[in-house]
Amino acid sequence: MNIIKAKNLIKDYNSFRAVNNIEFEIQEGECFGFLGPNGAGKTTVMRILYCFMPPSFGMVEVLGINVLSNPSQIKSKIGVMPQEDNLDIDLTVLQNLIVYARYFDIPKHTSNPLAIELLGYVELEDKINANILSLSGGMKRSLSLARSLINCPEILILDEPTTGLDPYNRRMVWNKLNDLKSKNTTLVLTTHYMEEADKLCDRVAIMDSGRILTIDSPSNLKKIHGGTLEDVYLKLTGRPLEP
């Protein structure tokens, strides 16, 4: 079943066309990746999916609901891990989860044990009462991931989930994402790391300048174009590196 559908999707920022007439469908339980150079339009697509901004043209449906018709209902069933951490620095680690849960109307007697469980899940149980500013970059990403799971989302949207992480933390995030996938959570992510896309994604869309160049599984792409996923990416996005 298609859990996300986008047709003739266009997004303009004033005169700049960030997303140029793209189409894709994402299936339930799938891990779907958007790859592409900076400025390709990946984050814009993510923001449209989690109803942060409306499309300029075209149709986008998430969980069978048009993003323009009932964003609150969509947002209540998805989790978002944004590219830049936007944790609430006025609150402690635990309060971040509990206050965030309140936006979903999850009462404290439910959110409190869930928050503690999630902090254990992302290995932050020692930091429950810590100040956000005292956390390392990796810990902040982990907390963002925990926060995105507070409403037990059906779809998890991750915008560059591992950018800036050390190898240990990156592997930890990968393990968590594989674990969520095995529990049938649909994952939609963007990444610059081809190894990450290769390991996690069932299918990837390679984007450049607001367009989708191809959508396929990493293994098919490697078979058709030859080489590694990175070779395919460089071949398709057409920006030869200096020797």
């Binding site: 942060f52 609150s72 609150l91």
Partner: protein, 251 residues
């Protein structure tokens, strides 16, 4: 707009404020206390009376108005702006079921709450100093919420259009300070050129100061026109902060 979701935003601010209020509440007393001592007692020693009222009694109720005005204004200019830009609190909230209209409503209601709270503190303080003549002063508390909403609306309009945080200086210097000085808090405006009285009539602080002084003296009827003015202004402005914030945040 969904009120329940707006109150979730309010609740977030309340959670944060609960951690800080013990430190900030003392300061709320200090500033008006300084004005009352310096102007009420210092300057008052020379002025003695205005319209038959001792000078310190004349100016004291005005500080309910100014204190509640500044509370909503700081909260919804600098506070809102910082949450919107530097802290990215808005981005986080908007990826939950809370929509932009709910978020803006939450900011406004929080600004009004804080305004009412800070004004009430001054009511208590000046009552303890026996500078209030009538128990009708308690009627002022809900009105402080209405005027707080108005100051919050003006501040959010400002936060939605400023290019950067430094631009708030224009709002404070060109609007807040003159309004504070010519609101009738410190002296009756009658001796000034008529044009200043007319301009003052179109500023919210003039009306709020009038309501504070009237109720403090027990003249309920003297406050009614100003209460109507403040309520009408809230209704008139009500769509604007929502529209401008949408324009600013959702590209």
């Amino acid at each position: 707009m969904n009120l329940k979701r707006a109150l979730r935003v309010w609740q977030r601010h309340f959670t944060v404020y609960k951690k800080l209020y013990r430190y900030s509440i003392v300061l709320n007393f200090v500033e008006p206390a300084l004005y009352i001592i310096a102007l009420g007692l210092g300057l008052g020693a020379f002025i003695k009376e205005i319209n038959g009222i001792p000078y310190v009694n004349f100016i004291a109720p005005g500080f309910i108005a100014s204190s509640s005005m500044f509370a909503a204004t700081y909260e919804c200019t600098y506070g809102t702006y910082i949450r919107m830009t530097f802290q990215k609190t808005f981005d986080a909230i908007l990826s939950t079921p809370v929509n932009l209209q709910d978020l803006v409503a939450g900011e406004l209601i929080w600004g009004a709450t804080k305004s009412m709270f800070y004004g009430t503190i001054i009511i208590i303080a000046i009552t303890l100093f026996r500078l209030v003549d009538s128990p009708f002063i308690v009627l002022l508390i809900p009105i402080l919420f209405i005027s707080g909403l108005l100051f919050a609306q003006l501040s959010i309009i400002c936060a939605a259009i400023v290019p950067g945080i430094d631009s708030f200086n224009y709002y404070y210097t060109l609007f807040m300070t003159p309004m504070f000085l010519f609101s009738g808090i410190f002296f009756p405006l009658d001796p000034l050129p008529k044009i200043i009285t007319y301009i003052a009539y179109f500023t919210p602080l003039y009306h709020l100061a009038n309501v504070c002084r009237s109720l403090s003296a027990g003249h309920v009827s003297g406050s009614l026109m100003s209460i109507a003015w403040l309520s009408a202004a809230v209704l008139l402005l009500s769509p604007i902060p929502f529209k401008l914030m949408r324009k600013r945040i959702i590209k």
